[in-house]
């Protein structure tokens, strides 16, 4: 999953000159989405950049971890940026935006508070689209080895000889 592209070398100013800053902290270009700090960027193969940005925000709103950066959410949904998934994904995001417009917002991404976005997600949580995105995130997000250290999880241990000499019983706070 390539999330970091050569766009990463750009400064924030250069990025902004090539795209429009969206409400939720993304830069949306003609063929890319990036973080406003240019720490990550993803070039679009099939989806509209707006759709990708909305999908990333939706992913964060479903499984919000304040310590987990956007690039991991971007990686978790990048799999939908393929020709086979385009129609369903564009339609799903259009449905999401439709609900947002019905509540008086310009789009899902325009909504400033997580609480208000989550209200919208709750209203569509039984839809096949929501369930597909949520279900995909369970492995798409949490099975990224790069996010494990953020949660303290240490992963594979065999190559290091297990924990027999590395703290399997090192708890200190039990009296």
């Amino acid at each position: 999953m390539t999330i970091k592209t050569d766009l990463k070398g750009l400064t924030r100013r250069q990025l902004l000159s090539r795209g429009a800053a969206a409400g939720a902290g993304f830069v949306i270009g003609t063929n890319f989405v990036s973080g406003q700090d240019a720490a990550w960027a993803t070039e679009m193969n099939a989806l509209k950049p707006d759709t990708m940005a909305t999908l990333i925000q939706m992913a964060r709103d479903i499984y919000p971890h304040d310590k987990v950066a956007d690039e991991f959410y971007a990686a978790a949904v990048k799999g939908y940026d393929v020709p086979d998934a385009v129609d369903d994904t564009e339609a799903g995001i259009e449905m999401l935006n439709g609900v947002a417009r019905g509540k008086g917002y310009g789009s899902y991404l325009d909504i400033g508070w997580e609480r208000d976005r989550v209200d919208i997600l709750r209203s569509i949580e039984d839809s096949a689209f929501f369930q597909k995105i949520r279900g995909g995130l369970v492995t798409g997000l949490y099975n990224q080895k790069a996010v494990w250290p953020i949660f303290g999880y240490e992963g594979e241990s065999y190559s290091q000889g297990g924990y027999i000499n590395r703290g399997f019983d090192d708890i200190t706070w039990i009296g």
Binding site: P64, H65, R134, W148, G152, I174
Partner: protein, 523 residues
């Protein structure tokens, strides 16, 4: 004649499946000089092949052929195509298992007598009892190298256990220890001691945990009397005009169909596939499926009560370090109807990695209630409930004629709904589990619903009377004298203990019986 055997060799015993039941039976028979062909749907994986990665390992070892579900259990909603988490590989689910190895309590062999009539439950006494099983339990414990039995010492407790133990003791519980585990606390039987790697559910890369994959199977093969054909998926069992079974039809890894003729057939495909094979073997002579004159094939499906409790603390626990199941509390395992239910339950520590926690903590859950729990993953302790669930005739494995597998065979549908006794017991166990962590200062506790079934039992149950069950006291089907069931599907009732030690003890006992009968010319 020595292995490999000819497909027309009608002197062989054919065993379907190489897990806890089938793998042990194959070796035990081979050691006694009986010719055995074992057919195993899965491939061969050894410690060097296992991976310390939850999903990758799941993809490597789990049974992923289609299955369907129904009933009011949450698994049917959350994991509709995955009723059970079991393995398709040489060694069966003993590659994934945690190693907890407990004997039944004496009274559990006679649940109907001791619990009395329970409305809606199809309780029955086992036709065998504790005294008869005792020597076989001892053989099984020696084979598996179970800690805290014989002269084998217990394993050291990991962080997860220390939280659990201290909390349980604060509540006044006494019977708390690091378990009786088929995991070496020191070198045993040519296998090394546990290195506290923490990936017991993914196959033990050190071989410290017993699995038939690298013990019984190769030992059986070394005798020259056992041939294991891996990636050979049995479709059905066939019989002759006399009604006796005469062989099995299977697909090899290249999709070529074969028939292996047999003197005796033993079914050990786990409690979902074993009844499915019998039902898929229906003929004009056996229109309701093989060995099913009682109508009990597939019925009385049990999965143990299960459920988990996770506790979050203000300080680290790192529950993933060390043995996955690191200890047990047995004070609640007694039968004491004063608690509002019959039977009892064990609490056993459990530590999942982050990927599996995300999948199993609250399946379908999302939003901050869910994610704030995972944010504290490092500070989490976990335990699992294993309690006796009630056999119910309506909880059953049937053929789903609308869904076919890769060979065109109808798949198993697994129907399960909790009995009122199950719910009462689970609520009690949730409460005690939460209290254990609260006693240690938990800032939050999470009573977590059952995962896809790891203990699958009862679908070809043992009964004294042929009317009540599928097999007799030796695991031989009541209907057909050379057809046996050799896995957890024989269980008359589930008891509160993790089942594998009992499956292994029954397999050792069955091997004695089959060898003796062959010797007498009765089979």
């Amino acid at each position: 004649m020595a292995a490999p055997f000819d497909k027309t060799d009608d002197s062989v015993v054919v065993i379907i499946g190489t897990g806890a039941g089938g793998g042990v039976l194959a070796n035990e028979l081979a050691q006694k000089g009986v010719s055995v062909v074992s057919l195993e749907a899965g491939g061969r994986y050894l410690p060097e092949d296992y991976v310390n990665d939850e999903w990758e390992s799941f993809g490597q070892l789990a049974w992923l052929d289609p299955r369907t579900t129904s009933g009011d259990w949450r698994v049917s909603r959350d994991f509709s195509g995955l009723p059970a988490w079991i393995v398709k590989a040489v060694g069966g689910t003993t590659t994934h298992w945690a190693g907890a190895s407990l004997r039944f309590q004496d009274h559990e062999w006679k649940a109907k007598t001791n619990y009395g009539a329970v409305q809606g439950a199809n309780l029955l006494d086992w036709p065998i009892d504790a005294a008869e099983m005792a020597p076989y339990y001892e053989k099984a414990e020696t084979k598996l190298g179970v800690t805290r039995t014989g002269d084998r010492t217990g394993l050291p407790g990991n962080n997860n256990f220390k939280v659990f133990e201290a909390g349980a003791k604060k509540l006044g519980y006494n019977d708390v220890h690091t378990g009786r585990m088929a995991i070496n606390s020191s070198e045993y039987d040519g296998r090394m001691a546990c290195q506290q790697t923490g990936f017991c559910f993914q196959g033990c890369k050190w071989g410290a945990k017993w699995s038939s994959a690298y013990t019984d199977i190769p030992r059986g093969e070394a005798t020259g009397n056992l041939e294991v054909r891996d990636r050979c998926h049995v479709l059905r069992i066939e019989h002759g005009a006399d009604g006796r079974v005469n062989g099995v039809v299977y697909m090899d890894k290249d999709g070529v169909e074969h028939k292996q003729v047999a003197r005796v057939v033993c079914v050990a495909g786990n409690s979902i596939e074993s009844p499915r094979i019998l039902l898929n073997s229906a003929t004009a002579m056996y229109p309701d499926g093989m060995a099913n004159s009682s109508g009990q094939v597939g019925r009385n499906y049990m999965r143990h009560l299960t459920g988990s409790v996770y506790g979050i603390f203000d300080k680290p626990v790192k529950m993933w370090r060390g043995t996955t199941m690191a200890g047990i509390m047995q004070d609640e395992v007694r039968h004491d109807p004063a608690r509002g239910f019959v039977g009892g339950y064990e609490l056993e520590t459990l530590g999942l990695g982050l990927p599996f926690m995300a999948a199993f903590l609250d399946p379908g859950g999302w939003g901050r209630e869910f994610t704030t729990a995972l944010d504290s993953y490092e500070n989490m302790a976990g335990m699992w409930i294993v309690g006796e669930d009630m056999p119910q005739e309506t909880n059953r494995v049937t053929l789903n004629m609308d869904v076919k597998d890769q060979f065109g065979m109808p798949v198993a549908n697994v129907h399960y709904s909790d009995h009122a006794n199950d719910r009462a017991m689970r609520d009690h166990a949730f409460g005690r589990g939460q209290a254990i962590y609260d006693a240690m200062g938990a800032t939050r506790t999470l009573p977590t619903p059952p995962y896809p079934s790891t203990h699958n039992l009862g679908t070809n149950r043992m009964s004294e009377n042929p009317r009540d069950g599928v097999v007799n006291r030796n695991g031989r089907t009541h209907d057909i004298e050379n057809l046996f069931v050799s896995d957890g599907s024989q269980f008359t009732t589930g008891a509160a203990e993790n089942p594998t030690l009992t499956i292994v003890a029954l397999a050792i006992r069955q091997a004695d019986h089959i060898a003796a009968e062959l010797g007498r010319g009765n089979l």
